[in-house]
Structures are given as C-alpha cells and as structure tokens.
C-alpha cells in the first residue's frame, strides 16, 4: 500500500488513532473525522481516506502501545510474576485512561468482525506476536519450576490470549481489586 510519509500525515494518523479509539470506525463519519482532525473534508475524501487512516491507526497503536509493552514482557525474568505485573499494568492503563477506551484491537474485532480482510491480517499478526511473547515468558516459568508440564505451554499461551479480551469488558464494570483478583486467579490456573 502506498504510504504518504510526510510529518503531517504521521501527525494526522496519531490524532486519528485516538479518534477511532474513542468512536470506533463506523461510529464516526468522514466529515466528523475531518472536523476532529482539523482538516478540510476534501482532504479525507480525496487525499487521506478514512479507511487508510484507520489502517495506519491500527499500526500506530500496535507500534506505540502494544510492541514496547510486549518487548518488556519478553525480556522479563520472573515467569508468572512477570505476567502478573504485565496484566496489572494493563489494568492500570485501562482504569487511568492511558488507554482511553479499552484496547483498540479488541474494540475493532468486536466492531468489524470478519468484514475486512486487511484488518483480519492485522489481527493475526497482532495475536501471534502476543502469543509468542506469552510463550517466551511461559518457557521461563517452566525453567523456574513454576510450570510442571512443558507440553502445556502452548495451551496456556492460547488461554492467556483471552485475558486482554475479558479485561477489556471487565474493566468497564469492576473495580481494581476485583480485576487484580481475576488476574491472580487466572494465573493460578497455570501450573
């Protein structure tokens, strides 16, 4: 896909990403989007279409919010305890609105389901990055003696993929201590 790599475009993507995070893709029209971004509507209709901004917003989101988070997780050394810290940090980000509304990838899955193949491609690479990071930590947990059966690592990694999805709903209706308890109990299931 052709990209316009001017500073202006990058700034627009950064702003657009936040707008989509709060409104979803369908929840905002091209005209409203142009108003939020402070550009003319013809810019959105002709130069930087809404769909292009959305796709690049998803990339911006993963590279800004998700990748550094996951890199830290992969480099962690304490196995299950590192996972606990990782999920606690996610809870904080959800509650203090560092993540203004849930997780953008989760919101997008719920909103767009299987309507757009390009988006599905992006999920798959996002999910496999997530799953690989969990496996790295789970292997360390196994070395630390926290997981008995090495053969269960893939099953546990798959199970943990659900955590960002369930927390993305639960943070809306539960308080911090309930959320942390949920995380602790989920991690206890991994043994």
């Amino acid at each position: 896909m052709a990209r316009v790599l001017s500073a202006t475009y990058d700034e627009l993507v950064e702003k657009a990403q936040r707008v989509f995070w709060l409104n979803g893709y369908k929840g905002i029209s091209a005209k409203e989007l142009s108003e939020e971004l402070g550009v003319s509507s013809s810019t959105i209709y002709t130069k930087y279409p809404k769909e292009m901004l959305f796709m690049d917003s998803l990339d911006y989101y993963t590279s800004t919010y998700s990748d550094p988070f996951l890199k830290g997780l992969r480099e962690s050394t304490e196995g299950i305890k590192s996972l606990q810290e990782f999920f606690y940090a996610l809870i904080e980000a959800l509650l203090d609105r560092t993540f203004p509304k849930s997780c953008l990838m989760v919101n997008t899955i719920v909103e767009m389901r299987v309507e757009n193949q390009d988006i599905i491609q992006k999920y798959h690479s996002y999910i496999s990055k997530l799953s690989d990071s969990y496996k790295v930590v789970l292997r360390k947990a196994h070395k630390l003696g926290q997981i008995k059966d090495e053969n269960r690592i893939d099953a546990y990694a798959e199970f943990l993929l659900g955590m960002i999805f369930s927390l993305s709903i639960f943070y809306k209706i539960q308080d911090k201590s309930e959320l942390k308890k949920y995380v602790d109990e989920q991690l206890k299931l991994i043994d």
């Binding site: 719920v110 999805f165 369930s166």
Partner: protein, 187 residues
Amino acid sequence: MRYKEYNTNRVLEQAIRLFWQNSFMGCSINTLVEKTGVNRFSLYHEFENKEGILYASLKLYKERYCNRKFDILKEEGDIQKVLKKFYLSFLQNDDIIPGCYFIHIGTELADSDEKIKGILEEYLLEMEELFVDILNRNEYPNEESVTISKHLVGLFCTSTSFCLIHSESQRDQYIENGINVIFGTNG
C-alpha cells in the same frame, strides 16, 4: 393509537441488526426511519429517543435470542460439554449475527453510558449465577463454584469477541482449551 400501527418488535428487530452492524453511533435516526419504514415522529413517540430504541432492542434481544441460549445451562449431561454448547450457541450463524449484542453494545458504550454499563453488568451477573447453579448441580463446592464462574464469564467475553475472527475449528479448539484450563482438566 396511530403510533401503534406498526409492530414494535419488528422495529426493534431491525434496530438490533442496524446498531450491531453499523454501531450505535454510526446508525442515525434517519437510517432507522428508512429501514423500518416508520416515521421519526412515531419512533420518538414510542421510544422517546435513539437511546430508548437501543435499550428496548437489548431487552428484546435478551428475550428472543439469549434466554434460550441461557437455558442450555440448565440441561443435564457432562458439564464441560454443556458449557461448550452454550458458548458455541452464540457463535452460530443460524438465527442472528454471531457474537453477543450485549458485548457489542457494551464495548461501544459502557464507558460513556451509565445505563448501558448497568445493563451489561446485570446481564453478566445473570450468566454468572447460572454458571454457579450448574456447578452446584454437578457437586462442586460452593466457594469453588463462585470462583470458576467468574472465569467462565471471562471465557464468554473472550469467545464473543476474539472467536469472531476464528474459523469453526479454531473456535472449537479455543473454547475447549479454555474450559480445560479453567477446570484443570488436561484435554
């Protein structure tokens, strides 16, 4: 009663599909008027505003589509099989859009609309209680049932979001794995 000349539930059926497919914020009252063929005055007379239509549509969705899925949890048989059947019932393509309308609307609006937040909370609580019941019937001690139920609700949230992009075999495997981990049964 001129405004009752149309069928309320027929309007709400349309509303469920429109809000689900276009998102609530992405579906204008004009679209509702166009798709239902009911004029704006009648819609407002009956439901007050667009939010009123949304709340009523959630209620109808619960009655028409969820209750019979919730009833699966009252069936006898192997508990893990019953649970799997329950989760999968939300992902089938036969009666309505796969997924869960409550999760969909909750994802979009529970942060900004207190009423939706309450509706979502109540919905998941009812489900949690049904999980406790089925566990108790299967002779799990009460304390354990309460804990397991929370994680079964978590798996519900995941299966009606993450699993939407899965193939049939992937979701089957994902849900089965989830149940196994929660129950500590290794496949």
